[in-house]
């Protein structure tokens, strides 16, 4: 182990190539993860932020807000279901808004939510005709104090505060009371026809300790199959494009990890071949295969750790340099951590390919060499 460590310090040049390639792979891994998280956050963060266990849609709506309608009677039924602690209505209208001081063609795309139960990071519903705006809309001039005109009917909505990191379908969100939302959607999309007390979906909190999936089943039975209840994370996955994006990116990430395994495996297999004589001598002096393999793993882990740190540094730098609103790139600490763990796995797993070769080296090969 100590010998392996000294080799790293005395002959760093031997490890530069592998470290550089792995650093590129680490960067790629975190970049891909950051893009995926950025894309996902753009289309799902408003739904993911719902402070509830279940979302209830009409069963005919195919898990989409636009097609879903929950009338007050159904809501009352849901509220009665054992295990349901709290129910709040929610609805969204995707519209373009005019911003004062901006040209008539320079519209801000907004997703106006009407809500009852405040999602994470959102205060309780504001007064009539008012809304909180996501900070991503500031680029478009939508900021606190401004009154924007939403949709073709130019429904005035006054911005009374800001929220952060909440988008839906890549649009910045507005958060208003249920009545403001109903008024806005009916004025601008008359065919939507949202009657009094009607919502698109319900956010349901279950009793502490209750099994959310079991409650979901009970809700759907209680409504006679008129509703489809899903967990918030399933509702996020049901947003169009989300699962496709996720699986595409995860495949690329998986391939990148496999490439990292191959790089480590090839590099250390080559090093092990080069060290056959040295390992023979060390075995003759009493080193076990375990000690020698431990040295290989140590070097693999150190090289990969340095590469991972470099990759994380580059990924963080990119996060700082990319102007907000251009490329959807969100570098989460959890993504850096999971990428690092993948690379650590690649380092150890890659080294395992050298184990057989280390085991096979015969200590007797050390003596009387050169005959």
């Amino acid at each position: 182990m100590r010998i392996a460590w000294l080799e790293l310090r005395r002959r760093p040049s031997r490890f530069v190539t592998a470290t550089a390639i792995l650093a590129l792979l680490a960067t790629l891994l975190m970049l891909l993860g950051g893009l995926l998280d950025g894309l996902l956050s753009g289309s799902t963060s408003a739904v993911a932020a719902q402070r509830g266990d279940l979302l209830v849609f009409s069963s005919t709506a195919e898990k989409s807000f636009v097609r879903s309608r929950i009338p007050p009677v159904q809501r009352a039924t849901v509220a009665q279901v054992p295990g349901v602690a709290e129910v709040g209505g929610i609805g969204v209208a995707q519209l373009a808004a005019r911003v004062p001081g901006k040209g008539p063609r320079d519209l801000a795309d907004v997703a106006l939510f009407g809500y009852e139960l405040a999602p994470k990071g959102v205060p309780s519903p504001p007064g009539p005709g008012e809304a909180y705006a996501d900070s991503s809309l500031e680029r478009k001039g939508v900021r606190t104090g401004v009154t924007i005109e939403v949709g073709p009917a130019r429904t005035p909505v006054k911005i009374v505060g800001t929220v952060n990191g909440l988008s839906y379908s890549d649009q910045g969100t507005l958060w208003s009371s249920a009545d403001t939302w109903r008024m806005t959607i009916n004025a601008n999309l008359p065919e939507a026809g949202v009657g009094p007390g009607v919502f698109q979906a319900l956010v349901v909190r279950v009793d502490p300790g209750a099994d959310a999936t079991a409650v979901a089943g009970r809700i759907d039975r209680a409504t006679g199959g008129a509703t489809e209840s899903l967990t918030v994370s399933n509702a996020v996955d049901a947003i169009p494009g989300v699962s496709q994006q996720r699986s595409t990116f995860n495949q690329i990430i998986g391939v990148t990890v496999v490439i990292a395994v191959v790089v480590v495996a090839l590099f250390f297999a080559l090093l092990t071949v080069e060290r056959t004589v040295l390992y023979g001598v060390l075995k003759a002096l009493g080193a076990t295969s375990g000690t020698l393999f431990g040295g290989v793993v140590l070097q693999g882990v150190v090289v990969t750790a340095i590469a991972t740190a470099v990759g994380a540094g580059i990924a963080l730098l990119l996060a700082a340099v990319i102007p907000p609103g251009t490329i959807p790139y969100t570098l989460l600490a959890s993504r850096v951590l999971s990428s690092s763990l993948f690379l650590l796995f690649a380092a150890i797993f890659g080294c395992v390919f050298s184990l057989r070769r280390v085991l096979r080296i015969d200590p007797a090969s050390a003596i009387g060499g050169g005959q």
Binding site: R2, L278, V281, L282, L285, G286, G368, G370
Partner: protein, 237 residues
């Protein structure tokens, strides 16, 4: 002291360093079998320095490898300093090599990125891990071998003779009962070879350590207590 007392005092050190009885080694290469060593029976005293002389391919390296626990014999028994290693598995043999024997290989094979001193300390790291005691021992050995001012040099910065001396130091680090030298002078010129042999003899005799020096060079026998000849895998004492 009486004669009896003297005999008792001598009891411990006179336990032979190496005893081989009926040792046979057969290498299998596909269908072909090579008998490298046959019916080898020998005994080497606790402080004896013995030359093993024979032509190339006669089985010298094979004998050394078996004596040092690098190879398992096909038949026969091997006892080193009273320890019967005949049936040892790979792991016990590794421990045995760590603790009991020293090797100097034909091609010197120092660790290229470690200094002379660190090359000696490798033995301690792989074995007993005594730390300070090992560092003192390494310094003392380097001093004895005339390498005190070379201790922080890498092998590439040393001459052939100096490297051979580092290898000798390494073989003595674990205070072995028996040191096996496989053609220690074959890569050196005559003068250097004689110096190294002189050094081997001095080091062994001052410690009372037994040694087998493998060679095909007749001149080496002047530095040893006794010579064993080997031809085609058969020993002639």
């Amino acid at each position: 002291m009486t004669t009896v007392g003297q005999e008792q005092e001598q009891e411990q050190p006179t336990r032979p360093a190496l005893e081989m009885v009926g040792v046979r080694k057969v290498y299998k290469m596909g269908d072909e079998e090579v008998v490298a060593l046959d019916h080898a029976t020998l005994m080497i005293g606790a402080d004896e320095v013995v030359a093993l002389l024979g032509p190339s391919g006669s089985g010298k390296t094979t004998l050394c490898s078996i004596a040092g626990g690098l190879l398992a014999p096909t038949a026969g028994s091997v006892v080193v300093g009273g320890q019967d290693i005949t049936g040892y598995n790979a792991k016990r043999l590794a421990k045995f090599r760590q603790e009991t024997v020293g090797f100097v290989f034909q091609s010197v094979n120092l660790v290229p990125f470690l200094t002379a001193r660190e090359n000696l300390l490798v033995v301690d790291q792989l074995g007993r891990r005594t730390g300070k005691a090992a560092r003192d021992r390494a310094d003392q050995l380097l001093e004895e071998l005339g390498l005190a001012d070379r201790r922080d040099n890498l092998p590439s910065q040393l001459s052939g003779g100096q490297r051979q001396r580092v290898a000798i130091g390494r073989s003595l680090m674990n205070e072995p009962l028996l040191v096996l030298f496989d053609e220690p002078t074959s890569a050196l010129d005559t003068e250097l070879g004689e110096q190294v042999m002189e050094l081997i003899r001095t080091e062994m005799k001052s410690r009372g350590t037994a040694a087998v020096v493998v060679t095909h060079d007749e001149r080496i026998v002047h530095y040893t207590d006794r010579t064993m000849h080997i031809v085609d895998g058969v020993l002639h004492a």
